[in-house]
C-alpha cells in the first residue's frame, strides 16, 4: 500500500469512527441546550438502540425496517420515562447531583440490558451487504455509507425540526430564554421531556447503525458516552454542526494517530488535543465565547 493509499484509508477510518462519535454527541447537545444537563446515560441509549434492534431482528424476527423504527420508538419511550421518573421531580438540582443521577440511571439501564439480553457481544447484519467498496486503493464498507447517510439525514431532520416546526422553535426558545418561553405560553417542562425523548431516539438510531460494524454488548455505553461527551465539548456544547465537525476531527485524529504514531496512544493524542482546545478556547471550537459571557450577566 502506498503512503497515499494508507492516508486515504486512515481518513475513511476516521470518518467512520467520527460519524459514530458525532451521532452520540448530537444526543448530548439536544438535552444540554434544552436543559443545561449533561446526560451521562446518553451512551446507554445508544447501547439500548443496538441491543433492541438485534433482539427484534434476531429473536422476534421482525423485518429490518420495522425493527429499525420500532427500536427507535421503544428507546425514545424509555428516554421519556427516564425524564419523568428521575429528572422531572427534581427542584433546582446541582450539576453534581445531575451527574450522579444520570450515572445511576446508566447503571440501571446497563443492568436491565444485561438481564434482558445477556452479556454476549452481538452483531447485526449490515443493511446492504458486506462487500467493501474500493475507492482509489482504500476501502470503505457499505455500512459506513449508511452511517454517513443516516447521520446526514438526522442532522438535516434536526435542522428542519429546529428551524421549521413550531415545537422545534419552542425548544430553541427554551434554550435561549426560559422565562420568555413561559411568557409566550410554552410549557418548559414538556420541552425538557421532549428533549430527553428526542436525544434517546437519536442515540438509539446511532446504536442501530453502528452495531453492524462496531458490534454491541450491554457494557458498551459508558465508553461511547465519554467519547460523545468529549466530542460535544470540543465542538462547543449546544452546537450541532460543531458536534459533527468535532466528531470527524477526533475520529480522524485517532485513526491518523494509530496509523502514524502509536495505536496504544491514539486516544491520548485525541484527548490532549481536546485539552489544548479547552485551555485555549474554553467554549469549544464552534461554541460562542461571547454568548457564554452574555449568559453570565
Amino acid at each position: 500500500m502506498s503512503l497515499g493509499d494508507q492516508l486515504l484509508q486512515y481518513l475513511f477510518t476516521g470518518i467512520t469512527i467520527g460519524a459514530i462519535y458525532g451521532m452520540v454527541a448530537l444526543g448530548f447537545n439536544i438535552i444540554y441546550s434544552a436543559t443545561g444537563i449533561i446526560n451521562l446515560a446518553q451512551g446507554e441509549f445508544v447501547m439500548l438502540g443496538g441491543m433492541m434492534m438485534v433482539y427484534l431482528t434476531a429473536i422476534i424476527k421482525l423485518p429490518m425496517v420495522v425493527s429499525f423504527f420500532l427500536s427507535i420508538l421503544i428507546v425514545t419511550a424509555i428516554g421519556a420515562a427516564f425524564e419523568r421518573a428521575a429528572i422531572h421531580p427534581l427542584k433546582s438540582p446541582s450539576v453534581i447531583t445531575l451527574i450522579i443521577i444520570t450515572v445511576a440511571a446508566s447503571i440501571l439501564f446497563k443492568g436491565g440490558a444485561m438481564f434482558a439480553w445477556g452479556k454476549h457481544t452481538v452483531s447485526l447484519s449490515p443493511f446492504s451487504g458486506e462487500e467493501p467498496i474500493s475507492v482509489l486503493g482504500a476501502t470503505i464498507l457499505p455500512q459506513t455509507l449508511w452511517i454517513l447517510g443516516i447521520m446526514a439525514a438526522t442532522v438535516a431532520l434536526l435542522i428542519l425540526f429546529f428551524g421549521f416546526t413550531l415545537t422545534g422553535k419552542a425548544m430553541r426558545a427554551c434554550a435561549a430564554n426560559r422565562t420568555a418561553a413561559s411568557l409566550v405560553g410554552i410549557n418548559v417542562k414538556t420541552m425538557v421531556l421532549l428533549s430527553f425523548a428526542l436525544s434517546a431516539g437519536i442515540g438509539a438510531t446511532a446504536g442501530i447503525i453502528i452495531t453492524p460494524i462496531a458490534l454491541m454488548n450491554y457494557d458498551r455505553g459508558t465508553m461511547l458516552a465519554v467519547k460523545g461527551f468529549s466530542v460535544a465539548v470540543l465542538g462547543g456544547l449546544g452546537s450541532n454542526v460543531g458536534a459533527v465537525v468535532a466528531g470527524f476531527i477526533i475520529g480522524i485524529m485517532e485513526s491518523l494517530g494509530a496509523g502514524f504514531i502509536s495505536s496504544g496512544y491514539k486516544d491520548a493524542i485525541a484527548l490532549v488535543v481536546l485539552l489544548l482546545v479547552l485551555f485555549l478556547k474554553p467554549s469549544g471550537l464552534l461554541g460562542s465565547r461571547e454568548r457564554a459571557e452574555f449568559k453570565k450577566f
Binding site: M1, Q9, T121, I213, A214, L256, A258
Partner: protein, 393 residues
C-alpha cells in the same frame, strides 16, 4: 403533603441504608443461627460475572452451579454436601482481593477456583500464598504459574504453548514474517510478550506490532499499517469482543493473508458474530469445541461430550472453553476432597501430584515444577468453516 412524602421516602432510604451498612458487619457474625451447617465442604469461586468480562465469567458461574447440583444430587462428597460460594469480581482487582479475603476468612473455604482474568488472578496471588489456600485460576496468562507459586495452579492452557502451536502451524504453511495485533488487557498483553519472546526461536519475524483498546470500535487504522507491511499473516491475541472486529476489518481492507487468533477465541459465538469474515480463522484451542470431530477412542471424548451435552441442555447456549476451565478446576478440587478430605494443605499436595486427570482442556499432569499440568498437545489447531469449529487439516 408532597414534602412530607419526600421526607418519609428519605427516612426509609436512610433506614434501608443503615441496615445495609450494618448487615455485613454484624448480622452474620452475631447471629450464629444464620451460619451454614459446618458439615458442608465449602469451595470458593471468583468469577467476573458482571463487568466488562462478564461473558467470560458467566459460563464459569453456570458451570459451577451445574457441578454443585450434580455432586449434591449424587450424595455429595463422601457424604458431605458441596457448597460452592460464587463471588463476582466485576473484573476489578480491588473487588477481587476483597472477594478472596471474604472467602478465605469469613467463609473459610477449602480452595478457590478462579478468578476469570489474568490481571485479577495476579492480584489475589499474594493473598492465597499468605493464607495458604489452594487457588486454581481460570485465567490463561503464563505469569500465573511461571515462576511456580506453591499454592497457585491454573487450568487453561499456557500462552507459550498457544504461541508455539501458532508458530509451528505458520512454519508448515511457509510463513515467516508476521504482524501481531493485541488487545490492551492482561491477556492480550501477556500474549504479546510470549509472541515476541518465542518468535526468534521459531525463526519468525514480527514486522508489525499493534494494539487496540477493549472498547475500540474500529481497527482499520492498525490493520492498514499492517497491510502496508510485508506481513504474511496476522496474529490477533485478545479476549475482548474486538477480536471479531479485527476479522471484519481485515475483510473490509481486502487483506487476503491468513488470520490467526489466540485461544481466547474459544467461543462459537465469536465465529458466528464474525460471520463471513470469520471463515478460515486459525486458532489453537482445547478439544471441547471440536468434540464432534474427535475419534471415539480419544481419551477426552467422554468427558467433553458429557459436559457439552449437560451444559447446553441446562443453559440453552453453546458451551465455551471458559466454562470448561472452571469445570477442570472444580473437578480437580472435588477429586482432592474425595481423597484427602477438608484440609487445605492436603488438597494442595493432592493437586500438585495429580497425574492423568482428564479435563476439558486436556490431560493434566501436575508436578511441583509445573502447576499448569498441560503440554502443548492439549491444543488442537482449529479453524472456522461455515461458522463452525473444525480441526485444521
Amino acid at each position: 403533603m408532597r414534602k412530607k412524602g419526600k421526607i418519609v421516602v428519605g427516612v426509609v432510604v436512610a433506614i434501608v441504608i443503615v441496615l445495609l451498612l450494618v448487615g455485613p458487619l454484624s448480622i452474620w457474625r452475631w447471629v450464629p443461627v444464620l451460619r451454614k451447617p459446618a458439615v458442608a465442604y465449602k469451595v470458593g469461586a471468583i468469577f467476573a460475572v458482571t463487568g466488562p468480562a462478564a461473558w467470560l465469567g458467566t459460563p464459569e458461574r453456570n458451570t459451577a452451579k451445574m457441578i454443585e447440583e450434580e455432586v449434591n444430587a449424587a450424595g455429595g462428597i463422601n457424604g458431605h454436601p458441596l457448597e460452592i460460594i460464587i463471588e463476582d469480581t466485576v473484573g476489578d482487582a480491588t473487588r477481587t482481593v476483597t472477594a478472596a479475603k471474604k472467602l478465605i476468612t469469613k467463609d473459610q473455604v477449602l480452595a478457590i477456583v478462579g478468578p476469570s482474568r489474568s490481571g485479577t488472578t495476579m492480584a489475589v496471588i499474594p493473598i492465597v500464598e499468605e493464607a495458604k489456600v489452594p487457588l486454581i485460576s481460570c485465567a490463561a496468562a503464563e505469569a500465573i504459574v511461571v515462576p511456580v507459586k506453591s499454592w497457585v495452579f491454573k487450568t487453561p492452557q499456557k500462552d507459550s504453548h498457544a504461541a508455539v502451536r501458532i508458530y509451528e502451524t505458520m512454519k508448515l504453511q511457509g510463513i515467516s514474517k508476521i504482524a501481531i495485533i493485541t488487545g490492551t488487557t492482561g491477556f492480550g498483553d501477556q500474549g504479546r510478550k510470549q509472541l515476541k519472546k518465542l518468535a526468534p526461536e521459531l525463526e519468525i519475524e514480527i514486522v508489525a506490532d499493534e494494539t487496540y483498546g477493549p472498547d475500540d470500535t474500529d481497527m482499520t487504522a492498525q490493520l492498514t499499517k499492517i497491510k502496508a507491511s510485508e506481513a504474511q499473516a496476522v496474529v490477533n491475541w485478545s479476549i475482548v469482543p474486538g477480536q471479531v472486529i479485527v476479522a471484519k476489518n481485515m475483510r473490509q481492507l481486502g487483506m487476503k493473508i491468513p488470520l490467526f487468533q489466540s485461544h481466547g477465541f474459544g467461543n462459537i459465538k465469536y465465529a458466528q458474530t464474525a460471520g463471513e469474515a470469520g471463515e478460515g480463522i486459525i486458532f489453537p484451542c482445547g478439544r471441547l469445541l471440536a468434540v464432534d470431530t474427535l475419534a471415539d477412542d480419544h481419551p477426552q471424548k467422554e468427558v467433553l461430550a458429557k459436559y457439552k451435552k449437560e451444559y447446553e441442555a441446562k443453559y440453552e447456549e453453546d458451551v465455551s472453553t471458559f466454562g470448561g476451565h472452571a469445570w477442570d478446576g472444580l473437578h480437580l478440587v472435588i477429586a482432592a476432597l474425595r481423597e484427602v478430605g477438608p484440609d487445605r494443605e492436603k488438597i494442595r499436595d493432592y493437586i500438585e501430584n495429580t497425574k492423568n486427570f482428564v479435563g476439558t482442556g486436556g490431560i493434566f499432569n501436575f508436578s511441583p515444577e509445573d502447576h499448569s499440568g498441560l503440554t502443548k498437545d492439549a491444543f488442537e489447531m482449529l479453524t472456522v468453516k461455515n461458522e463452525k469449529f473444525v480441526v485444521l487439516e
